[in-house]
């Protein structure tokens, strides 16, 4: 935790104020890359329904992920071509692990 009494500069409408600013405030926002399909939860890949080079439409099922007692359909977030399939059937994946990359 930062020193409670440490004052930093904060710009609001072009006026610079001296005030306490929590560390978490300084994280920069990074736009998400919509071509990356990551595991939203850890689980096991049950079935891969696509291959590299396949043309897919938004909403097409790319693979099935067994997690939270459910067979979850992982679908294409946008239309495009499958660039990389990073996992295979039976593989355990961690949260946020790359499953498929589109181009």
């Amino acid at each position: 935790m930062q020193n409670e009494n440490e004052l930093r500069k904060l710009n609001i409408d072009e006026t610079i104020y001296e005030t306490e600013v929590p560390d978490s405030f300084n994280k920069r926002w990074i736009p998400p890359d919509i071509r990356l399909v990551n595991a939203f939860i850890p689980g096991t890949v049950v079935e891969v329904k696509t291959t590299a080079g396949t043309v897919v439409k938004e909403g097409d099922v790319l693979l099935i992920l067994d997690a939270m007692k459910m067979y979850n359909e992982i679908t294409a977030p946008v239309s495009g071509t499958v660039d990389v399939v990073a996992v295979s059937a039976g593989e355990r994946v961690e949260k946020n692990q790359l499953l498929v990359r589109l181009k």
């Binding site: 904060l10 306490e20 405030f25």
Partner: protein, 513 residues
């Protein structure tokens, strides 16, 4: 049976029930640094004031060998007592009895004392220390939780409901405290979460301790689920007593009136810094104005850019909302709006006048804020101030810019009186930002744009960074030196009545949530 024998039998029964889950379990509870349920009840209430009810209640479950199990009081102590000589209803889950688990009879006891609080129109204090639903009783325990949630809701705004988390409180059980007005937590004792560390580990592979996931510090500083943080159980009991001293027993009663008292140290005219970019601690202003300088913050460690809490003015309870320039320059953001809105609605429900101190540069910019729904959350602040019918007095100390000026209980949202200091700057935005927009052409066409910019900022400041433009239009009622604020505000409240929006026919509004 002789009377003597009957009385002996009675004595033995009571003695056994008072042992809760037995000596071993009680010892274990103490080793965890926790008081027993009975100790807690007796320490919170005035000496000898407790009237226990339903001590002899038993469960009627027969599955999984439950028919052979006797559970003292079915794991919860219920009844009535007094705090500072004012009646309250209370229940305390007893962790030593089957882990304080909630079965049908346990829930029925809580429901009964809740109904008792509702009909008597007295505050309800709930002490949570429970492993959760009593699995052996199946859906009956779910029925029990539902009955409790229903009452938490129907009594909301009728009687103050206070929750103490003095042990685990997990899964669905968390929603009873969450529905109440104020939640008290104690370091290293309180734990609240929907899914615990083990489930999170199994499902997500994430390692987190109960303390970090849902301990007292987390809930008072990160989630805002709890309002008051204490180091020890006894400190939490003192907080409860102090809080109740500000509150009426129900929404029909006036808050208790105390002997008026001057602040320990009043405020001087130079209480805030000359430079409007400099921070200061707004609680020093509040303490310099209220009776005895006695100010009890609610949500002290959460969304610190706004300060809310209870104090007295001329003996009467007021709810205070103040921007805190010390933290994030006192901006409004998602959490600050939620914190203030909830507090304002509590005060309005219980007839507690609202005193607002304004010094805010506006809303916090950022993708995070926009994506977190600052529009929807910020709207709660406008809604709750506009909706409130209690007397509302606003003191504009320094910056009151743009949308944030409107939101902070301006005249336009129905303030009874708006008071401003000569240092107030009521404007559509700060001078720097405004000059860059209004004089964009002049600045860019200038041979020395920076010099022109400074000149124009000064020009804008001279013209608009003051309270006189707003006062000339009647948006500010009273201008005063800081040192006279207490006197003015007391008068303003004295002459302010409750407002009537003329819409009592409506069922309820639809506050953005």
């Amino acid at each position: 049976m002789s009377i003597k024998k009957r009385l002996t039998e009675f004595g033995t029964r009571v003695q056994n029930l008072f042992k809760g889950g037995g000596d071993v379990a009680q010892e274990k509870q103490k080793k965890r640094g926790k008081l027993t349920a009975r100790e807690r009840v007796n320490e919170i209430l005035d000496t000898s004031s407790f009237l226990e009810t339903d001590l002899f209640v038993e469960h009627s479950s027969t599955d999984f060998g439950m028919d052979r199990k006797k559970l003292a009081g079915d794991g919860v102590i219920t009844g009535y007592g007094k705090i500072d000589n004012r009646p309250v209803a209370i229940f305390a889950q007893d962790f030593t009895v089957a882990g304080g688990s909630l079965g049908k009879a346990h829930a029925a006891k809580i429901v009964k004392v809740m109904d008792g609080a509702g009909t008597r129109k007295i505050p309800l204090i709930g002490i949570n220390d429970s492993g959760g639903a009593r699995i052996q009783e199946g859906v009956d325990s779910l029925y029990g939780y539902g009955e409790i949630f229903l009452r938490n809701t129907t009594f909301s705004g009728v009687i103050p409901q206070l929750s103490l988390i003095l042990g685990p409180c997990a899964g669905g059980a968390v929603y009873s405290p969450a529905l109440t007005d104020f939640v008290f937590v104690v370091d290293k004792i309180s734990n609240m979460f929907i899914t615990g560390p083990q489930v999170i580990k199994t499902v997500l592979g994430e390692d987190v301790s109960p303390e970090v996931l849902g301990g007292a510090r987390t809930h008072t500083s990160v989630t805002g689920n709890a309002h008051f943080y204490a180091e020890t159980e006894r400190e939490a009991f003192q907080q409860i007593k102090r809080l109740l001293s500000f509150l009426p027993a129900n929404c029909l009663e006036e808050p208790p009136v105390h002997e008026p008292a001057e602040p320990v140290k009043g405020i001087s005219d130079d209480i805030i810094p000359d430079n409007r970019r400099k921070a200061y601690d707004v609680t020093s202003v509040i303490k310099g104005i209220v009776d005895n300088s006695d100010f009890m913050q609610v949500h002290e460690h959460y969304a610190k850019n706004i300060v809310v809490g209870f104090a007295r003015l001329n003996g009467k309870t007021v709810g205070i909302v103040a921007n805190q320039p010390r933290y994030l320059a006192g901006v409004l953001d998602v959490n600050a709006s939620d914190k203030a809105a909830r507090f304002i609605r509590f005060c309005d429900a219980f007839g507690i006048s609202l005193l607002t101190f304004v010094d805010t540069p506006g809303y916090l910019p950022g993708v995070d804020q926009e994506h977190a729904g600052v529009i929807r959350h910020g709207a709660k602040l406008l809604y709750s101030y506009s909706e409130a019918t209690v007397p509302k007095v606003t003191v504009i100390m320094r910056k009151a810019y743009g949308g944030a000026y409107i939101a902070m209980c301006s005249r336009h949202l129905g303030a009874s009186s708006v008071v401003a200091w000569p240092t107030a700057e009521i404007a559509v935005m700060g001078a720097e930002g405004a000059a860059n927009i209004v004089f964009r052409k002049e600045i860019s066409a200038s041979d020395d744009p920076e010099a022109t910019r400074q000149e124009k900022i000064q020009e804008y400041e001279d013209k608009f960074a003051n309270p006189y433009v707003a006062a000339s239009k009647g948006y500010v009622d009273v201008l005063t030196e800081p040192r006279k604020t207490r006197e003015i505000v007391i008068k303003a409240f004295e002459y302010a009545g409750r407002q009537d929006h003329g819409n009592s026919f409506r069922r309820h509004g639809n506050i953005p949530l």
